[in-house]
């Protein structure tokens, strides 16, 4: 497995779904690493050095070589530690896994957030609709598989941790009934399987502090109306 001289560090913030993706991948591979909690309101020199382009977390550092962007990191982890594969081996299946992971970033993450965290009513409604449409695509793609990756979870499942853990939290805060078992029975069932998978469960942040933080953000948004 990992050579004894290896240095593996993850720069992150508790409560970030993107950091969580990396943590799930590392846990799946059984890779030991040093975790550095960043303060995004006061970014460390280390973060600015390792991710000068975006200045964001997660940043994964392996033997002093930094890699930002959660999905790029997860593919790197999969290629470096080859057991418990995250991506399938067939090129077409790999292309599909990358497509749906990118879809989650492009069409779900932003829209779902804005479906709650937008002050303007019309704008918010538009995002609710877009989120609904996006989640429907995923519902259709999942079909009757246990995970997007099949019998075991893979890249798309990891990317979708945002849906499984984070969307339920902020939709509760915003009083929005978007991601429910009525609306998306298969996807909802998947989310329960996923968050309860031992590897994922151990990688998720504690719910209450994340809820409290996201609730404060919601309240300050409405207060600024």
């Amino acid at each position: 497995m990992a050579a004894s001289q290896e240095e593996v560090t993850l720069l992150g913030v508790t409560g970030s779904a993107f950091v969580c993706r990396v943590q799930i991948a590392l846990k799946l591979k059984g890779v030991e690493y040093k975790y550095v909690e960043e303060n995004l309101g006061n970014k460390s020199d280390l973060l600015l050095k390792y991710n000068p382009v975006y200045k964001k977390v997660p940043v994964f550092v392996h033997n002093e070589k930094p890699i930002p962007e959660s999905l790029v990191i997860v593919e790197y982890i999969d290629e470096t530690w080859k057991h418990n594969p995250i991506l399938p081996s067939d090129p077409y299946q790999r292309a599909l896994a990358r497509f749906w992971s990118k879809f989650i970033d492009d069409r779900v993450v932003g829209a779902a957030w804005k479906a709650v965290y937008t002050v303007d009513e019309e704008e918010r409604e538009k995002n609710v609709e877009e989120s609904f449409e996006a989640l429907q695509f995923l519902e259709n793609e999942l079909k009757d598989k246990k995970f997007f990756g099949g019998e075991e979870f893979g890249l798309v499942d990891i990317a979708a941790v945002y849906i499984a853990f984070w969307i339920p939290i902020f939709q509760e805060i915003g009083g929005l009934e978007l991601f429910t078992s009525e609306n998306f029975p298969k996807l909802y069932k998947w989310s329960q399987e996923f968050v309860n998978h031992p590897v994922v469960k151990e990688s998720l942040p504690p719910r209450d502090p994340v809820f409290a933080f996201l609730k404060r953000r919601y309240e300050s948004l409405s207060a600024s109306k």
Partner: protein
Amino acid sequence: MADEVVLLDFDLSMFCIRVKIALAEKGIKFEDKEEDLVNTKSALLLQTNPVHKKVPVLIHNGKPICESLIIVEYIDEFWKDNAPLLPTDPYQRAQARFWADFVDNKVHEVAKKIWTGKVEEHEAEKKELIENLKQLEEVLGDKPYFGGDTFGFLDVALIPFYKWFSTYEKVGKLKLDCPKLIDWANRCLERESVSTFLSDENDVYEFVLSHRKRIGVD
């Protein structure tokens, strides 16, 4: 078994050009189906890319793959025995993917705001575009290609945009400052795959002008 490779294409699309260059580098014959995106999307496009309804779509033995960089990786992985585009080292691969996404998010998206909008409202984007291309020059460094000694994934990702630089300058009323990228681009143009498929810069300019008229910003 003969491979059936079809590309749903739009000849001025930088994203489609990426795929054509990758196919040419690998020596793969394909059927080029030009979409008329200005007027209507074909039934085949809507069927094979229901999610985004966009080109390029590569249809390989009936199986569709969408999103240009994902298609290029697929081409590289399926036809892995010649002209490898991604490096073998995982860290170098991560770097190539990171910077290819940067081209999409920080060159294309930024530039698009300029050429589809009122230029005076996009001073920030103009500055950003100039800076981001300089950033790519730093990534290139003294290497002949972004891939090092060989033409690779990141070269494929960026080179189609080269023929848009003069349009960015004319429409955006800006001056790009990336001489090293110009040298790199000319080196790439010596490759048949690139010179065959790269757009003519006047065609790009005409396209953007008529697009701007159509959407009412000019």
